[in-house]
């Protein structure tokens, strides 16, 4: 039963699209109701399953998926021509990411109920995007994984270019093409994984049982890792993200920054590092060097920007850099911190973009120099923004603190000078983060209220609900991280076992 529910996570959004395709666009209220119901239903299912995974921890997982501790494991032959299977399963890591996605999709649907333009197509695209993200996190077959991974390109461009603001065509193209560039780097190495491993299978678990030839790993690992890192905006492939996010409509920014950018980091961990641990050990120190840009310079760039979405985008770049710091540490604590950061950052950036979108809908500008005194007119939205900021700068009590401190501990454990130096720099850069977040909040929320904003109103019930739920998630992770860590550890253990077993 749970397995069927698990598979329905990605099927339901797709079904919603099909059902809605049959309803004429003029029934916009019906369409909206269906989409909200569907997103809420999926959220419910995912929460229930996440709890099940937690409740099941300690009991033996599916033996077919060993060494990974997978629940709800499904393996059905799919495309016999190249032996691709439909393989899905849940361990703690992907279950939590699925939960994150479900929350963000739900919030995204709620905040865009009154979007301008053809709503029917917009919601269909959101659901398609949700399908693709769910699919990426669920699948353990590389073909399936890649199909879902690249599906996003199709939705992203149309959503940004048709429903976005500002330089929407430019931003959409930049985002889509850069992501496509990343996924083509991944695709190029996938074939190598199939033929060089000798497993004659795309099954991640089967391939992980073989040892790939070293000369293959040496070129394939950087290609694949960077391919994934493109979507997590690792320097030097970060340039798409500020333009893309600022052009995108609110829901798309939330989804892109909240869950899609995690797909890259997830892929780095789950596919690249898990399958090619030997090369990972050699190459990851170079990645750490790249991180100096992300974690140290990112906040400084955010400091100089005036556009709220650009500030948040650069803040995302720096936070995602921390994920890579955790991954590159190659210690269990580092990996756990990286996973925690993926989830924590998803919620906080979702909240960030949600509040920015709501404020932008009212002020019609995202330039912080033109705003001021918003707190007086929109206390609820203002507080939501400030709370997201606090979580972002790592205030204890919020999820950001737990995730970042775990990463720093994990990274410092590794006795390589460069990692430690970067870790110290990263810790120091939190100060810069605090500066730009407080400065932004100050300029935007306090000070004199411009005349034109006299008539603005605070959030509606729907908007307040979104903010409350997302803040609750941030607090929940921050206050009881043990619960999350327990789920995470059982899925990180096999990955770390494979990495530590790899000799050089």
């Amino acid at each position: 039963m749970n397995t069927i529910l698990f598979n329905s996570i990605w099927v339901l959004p797709l079904l919603t699209v099909l059902v809605c395709a049959l309803i004429p666009a003029s029934y916009s209220k019906t369409l909206r109701t269906i989409h909200v119901t569907s997103a809420t239903l999926v959220l419910g299912i995912v929460c229930y399953l996440t709890y099940s995974v937690y409740a099941l921890s300690g009991t033996p997982s599916d033996p077919a998926a060993a060494p990974l501790a997978l629940r709800f494991f499904t393996d059905i032959p799919w495309l016999s021509v190249f032996n691709a299977h439909y393989i899905v399963g849940a361990d703690g890591l992907n279950m939590l990411l699925l939960a994150l996605t479900a929350f963000i999709v739900w919030a995204g649907v709620l905040v865009s109920l009154h979007i301008k333009g053809n709503q029917k197509i917009f919601f269909a695209l959101i659901q398609l995007l949700a399908t693709s993200v769910y699919g990426v996190y669920m699948s353990f077959d590389l073909v399936l994984f890649f199909v879902f991974y690249e599906m996003e390109a199709l939705c992203m461009y149309l959503m940004i270019a048709c429903y976005g603001s500002g330089k929407r065509d430019y931003g959409g193209k930049k985002l889509t093409l850069t992501l496509a560039f990343g996924s083509s780097m991944i695709l190029a190495t996938l074939f190598g994984l199939f033929f060089e491993s000798g497993a004659n299978s795309w099954n991640l678990i089967e391939i992980s049982k073989t040892t790939l030839p070293m000369d293959f790993q040496m070129w394939a690992f950087p290609l694949m890792f960077m391919g994934f890192a493109v979507s997590s905006s690792l320097f030097p492939f970060h340039f798409w993200s500020p333009d893309g996010h600022s052009a995108a409509p609110t829901a798309v920014s939330m989804l892109a920054a909240g869950v899609m950018m995690k797909m890259g980091a997830y892929g780095c961990l789950r596919v690249a590092m898990f399958l090619m641990p030997e090369a990972a050990k050699i190459w990851l120190p170079y990645v750490v060097a790249l991180l100096i840009f992300n974690v140290v310079l990112g906040p400084f760039i955010a400091l100089r920007h005036k556009d709220l979405k650009y500030i948040t985008a650069y803040s995302s770049i720096s936070h995602l850099g921390l994920i890579f710091l955790g991954l590159a540490a190659l210690t269990p604590i580092g990996l756990r911190g990286a996973s925690l950061q993926m989830i924590s950052h998803g919620f906080l950036t979702g909240l960030f973009f949600a509040t920015i979108g709501m404020i932008y809908e009212r002020t019609h500008t995202r330039d912080i120099t033109e705003m001021g005194g918003i707190m007086r007119k929109m206390p609820f939205l203002g507080v939501g923004f400030v709370l997201a900021g606090f979580a972002g700068l790592g205030l204890p009590g919020f999820s950001g603190f737990i995730a970042e401190s775990t990463i720093f501990i994990g990274a410092f454990q590794q006795d390589s000078t460069i990692t430690r130096v970067v870790t110290v720099l990263a810790i120091l850069s939190i100060t810069t983060t605090a500066v730009y977040i407080l400065q932004t909040a100050n300029r935007m929320l306090h000070g004199p209220l411009p005349q034109k904003y006299e008539g603005l109103t605070d959030g509606t019930f729907r908007e307040k609900l979104v903010i409350v739920v997302l803040v609750a998630c941030l607090l929940f992770i921050g206050v009881c991280p043990g619960w999350i860590s327990e789920i995470l550890d059982q899925s990180i253990a096999p990955i770390f076992a494979k990495i530590s077993a790899a000799g050089l």
């Binding site: 666009a25 799919w78 495309l79 016999s80 021509v81 190249f82 053809n118 197509i121 073909v143 890649f146 199909v147 879902f148 690249e150 599906m151 390109a153 199709l154 461009y157 149309l158 270019a161 048709c162 929407r168 065509d169 193209k173 889509t176 093409l177 496509a180 560039f181 083509s184 780097m185 695709l187 190029a188 074939f191 190598g192 199939f194 033929f195 290609l223």
Partner: protein, 479 residues
Amino acid sequence: MTNFTHSFIIPDVLLLIFPFVVIGIRLFVTTQSKVPWRLANFGFIAIFFLLNFIPLASGNGKFFICNWKVDDFGVLMREVLMVSALLGMWLSKDYFEHGADKKPQMHQIAEFIGAIAFATFGGFVVVSACDLLTFFLGLEIATIPMYALAAWNKRDQFGSEAATKYILMGSVATAFELFGFSYLYGFAGSLHFNEIQAAVASGTNPLLWVSVLFLFCGIGFKLTLFPFYTWAPDVYEGAPTPVTAVLSVTSKATAIAFLVVLVYGPLSPIQDKIAPLIALLAGVTLFVGNLGALKQSRLRRFMAYSSIAQAGYIMVALLGPATMAKTSIIYYLFVYAVSNYLAFFVFGIIGHHREETFNSLRGLSKQNPSLGIALAISMFSLAGIPPLAGFFGKFHLFFSGASTGHYTLVAFAVLNNVIALFYYLQLIKSAWVDEPDNHLNPLRLTKRQRNVIILLSCSVVVLGFLPFLSDNIFAGFTH
């Protein structure tokens, strides 16, 4: 008839008789365009199903002087060609009908259908030939009706120019091929493929290499490989739209079948030696095609470059082992045919009311959402974005190429996809992002056009991730 062992020839004979029947009816019975149209619909679909359901569809034999062999590749290739012929015919229908305010754009539907049938029959011959003579005959039967088709609007100056270019280039290509064949014959001392294969296996000499080079040059014209692709944009632009579509699918399919038959037949002993040549042609062709498409603003010129690039992608598969390459090429041709015809259907509707340029697409998604979606589906499929069929097609091709370790070429081809995505996005942008232009004539869809577009769109969406088509093709090779 109890001992009739040559039932595999039935579809071929039917297809050969078919144009004579259609043209005969047009000449002697009735001049109504409905009759040949219905007959053609029935005939093409019947032949397609015959190919599917005659279990004896493969076999070999000798007819007159032609050695004939129908294997799995032959049967599947015939199906691809039939699909292309059928879709091409459906696409052409509107061009023979009277518009509300003007005369039909093309005349003589019976002869048109006949020409398509002949071209398709040529493809049939190419995939079943067992000796150089039959092979050459097939290629010519496939090509000559195309010259006529390209010049169908004989009063249109661009059409005539296109047809002239096409005939001149095609003749040069034919000359190259004949030259290659003659050297191959000189080398092996026989026309029969099996004997040529034996001779090639026993040793090579410069004569063989000259012949291979000329053969590739010759087919390079027809498959629009670098550096012989330059005719394609002009011809695609000048010929009537349905002819362009047929040209880009049937003619390309025939040409690639020619290469498959050669590479995995007579030349199979030296496949690893010609692999660098294939890899080079593939890489350069897809790069040049993609670069060329970047700056186009007219739809059919754009499609010409796009199809040049597609030819490059198909060539990648020729590096793999026989079964894998054949499966992937057949599968790709199917999805390419469907995606390409879908695009041409949309362009055709636009071309009926407006100029065929990117500008005419403005606001398409707002005024005709279904056309906008169909266009997006076909473009994303051609760009190879999952879950659409085009992605799985390309995946097959790359899989075949990578299986022999050509990772560099596959990586290059995959990265080229990003360039391809860029120009397909340009087109999607015109349709989806640009504001509607009120100076453009409104578009009207007939019920038939609508149905065909829905059918093709659904096929493009479904054929990829449902294993139905690829499994059947695969089963065809491994039963």
